[in-house]
Symmetry: none
Subunit: 182 residues, 4 copies
DNA sequence: GCATAAGCGAGACGGTACGTCCCGTCTTACA
DNA sequence: TGTAAGACGGGACGTACCGTCTCGCTTATGC
């Protein structure tokens, strides 16, 4: 939800709304043209902001993407049953913007430990913490379930370009059994 | 296993060994420096070949990578039990060169249908066909198992940068249950 | 008018008509697309001949072009007055194919002495010899007149892209005065 | 004399000296290796500048060459007699760097109207304007004289590779008679 | 009639340059 | 200190064309 808003002392304050506008632009463009097809110049332009401003707030394109994705995902729904957060996760992956962000970021993660760390902290951990707190599950199990759901669906997408309800259901089932049945 | 070796008639025949040398160079370099960090110029140079020669045989870096990967994977082992091909698959994904090729290709697949098609035909289909023929399983189930194993492991790698035996085992179990237990 | 037809002994004789067809193709293509825009592959293709065949007969694109140009120019007209060969020369330069061949060759000549030599022997010398023999003029004077006419007109073309009657006339006058009035 | 120095508002100003360094490098390299033998990479490297910087300031190699040439030529000398500017022009053409630039540009001009236009505006027009203003001559006559001098000398160079004093003198005479004697 | 010699079509190959693209950094002026 | 604007270095991309090469096949001559 944030760039790195801790800007305590002197100088001109940051212009409000810039963070949101940039994330919004990034989300739209990546949904339209994919991660690699989206330029930082393009994002800045659509957000009505200078490229410098973007780089002052985010270290790199990847880090902006992670922030955008985290913002987009929001929190898993509070509910009584275990099924709903997992189903929610699968539904999120089916959103074009989420999917294309994830695919791009998985690619970058291979090259850059800081991306991996950020991805864990901002994307997976909130989900895991939610299930651990809510249902008393073991964190490693939930992490694994997360990786199975997201990874399997993403990989299916990479293979076929689309994702049927049946696929999504099968994978959610599997993940549920994983955390539940052991 | 091949570029497009069907060169029936006239003209100077393709120099033997070039295909293998280029794939070899691609494999090594991608293992060393990752997919994105590997240049076609570099591959050509290490293979002792002109860049134009590479582009004459493969449409793009992605297509060369798929060919390299297919060559590298080879066929799943013939065995009596169902477990061994799935275990074999997980083991393959743990190989650095296979993994980095896969990660790069999953990224490209998002942008390019022809990459997806080739990926299905050259990478997943041989595996699926093997299990269908050998054990009489349903193709969609095996496809899904493939996507679960490869996707989940790749995603874990993207999140943590490494892959423990425990992770691999858990995922293989899951996939086995998937094809077996239904 | 010739490639290098002296092929005394054994072996399969050269196919008749190839020389003419290639020159014809070269002339047409260069007239259409300019010297630099014309590929040897293209010429060979239009002539219905393999590229190898072209290179067996001509050392390079430049040498083919010189041969084509010499063929195209033919001999200056026999006439009683001195004016007509010079007017003829100016008229030739105004032909698109001649002009574009010349422009291309002047460019190449800067790089390659063998092109210069060939250009002298095949293009300028026939003209000069004609005027020397016919009218008893001095060879250096005629050479200079040639360079003035061709050079000035070509340069005007390079500057404006076209050549009016007035321009052509003024330059022919000048050249005539040059050889005549001294 | 300049790239397109009109950079009125905002943004990082262009690094001073880059224009001059690039033109200098281009001049030297073209004098050494000819127009076609000179790469933009090479020019950029010798100028200590990235290739992209060169392309940001000049549309193409040709346009850089025109700019370099204009800079190199400077203005014709102010003098009392008509002879001196024409002699000066002939002397300039005999300079290796000027000559090789001109030869290359004449070749490019055939392919590209924008090169022709730039050549007229930056190279010929300053010369013509000078003679028109200074001696009240007619612009078309001076243009023609320019084309005769430069064209004839360049063409002689293309034919023989060198240029004697006698040649230069003969052509200057001719051009002088042209503007003077009518 | 069969060896020898060259021509030819087809297309692979090495090499070199091109002009474009995008990232992330920088340098100004102004707010 | 933030911001707009845009220059800059660096590096890869995929394309184009040249002139050479290597095959298999064809067509002549000379023994």
């Amino acid at each position: 939800m944030s760039d790195n808003s801790a800007r305590p002392r002197g100088g001109r304050p940051r212009r409000a709304g810039v963070g949101a506008a940039v994330r919004q632009a990034a989300e739209e463009l990546i949904a339209e043209r994919g991660y690699a097809g989206t330029t930082l110049d393009l994002i800045a332009q659509r957000a009505g902001v200078a490229k410098t401003t973007v780089y002052r707030r985010w270290r790199s394109k990847s880090h902006l993407a992670i922030d955008t994705l985290a913002d987009l995902l929001g929190d898993p729904p509070a509910g009584i049953d275990l099924l709903s957060p997992i189903t929610w996760l699968a539904a999120q992956v089916r959103e074009p913007s989420v999917r294309r962000l994830l695919v791009g970021l998985v690619g970058e993660a291979g090259q850059d430990e800081s991306v991996r760390a950020e991805l864990r902290a901002r994307i997976r951990e909130p989900f895991t913490r939610h299930l651990v707190d809510e249902f008393g599950l073991s964190a490693p199990d939930v992490d694994l379930a997360f990786d199975v759901v997201v990874g399997a669906l993403l990989h299916r997408l990479a293979m076929t370009g689309e994702l049927t309800d049946t696929d999504a259901l099968a994978v959610t089932d599997l993940a549920t059994r994983l955390v539940f049945g052991r």
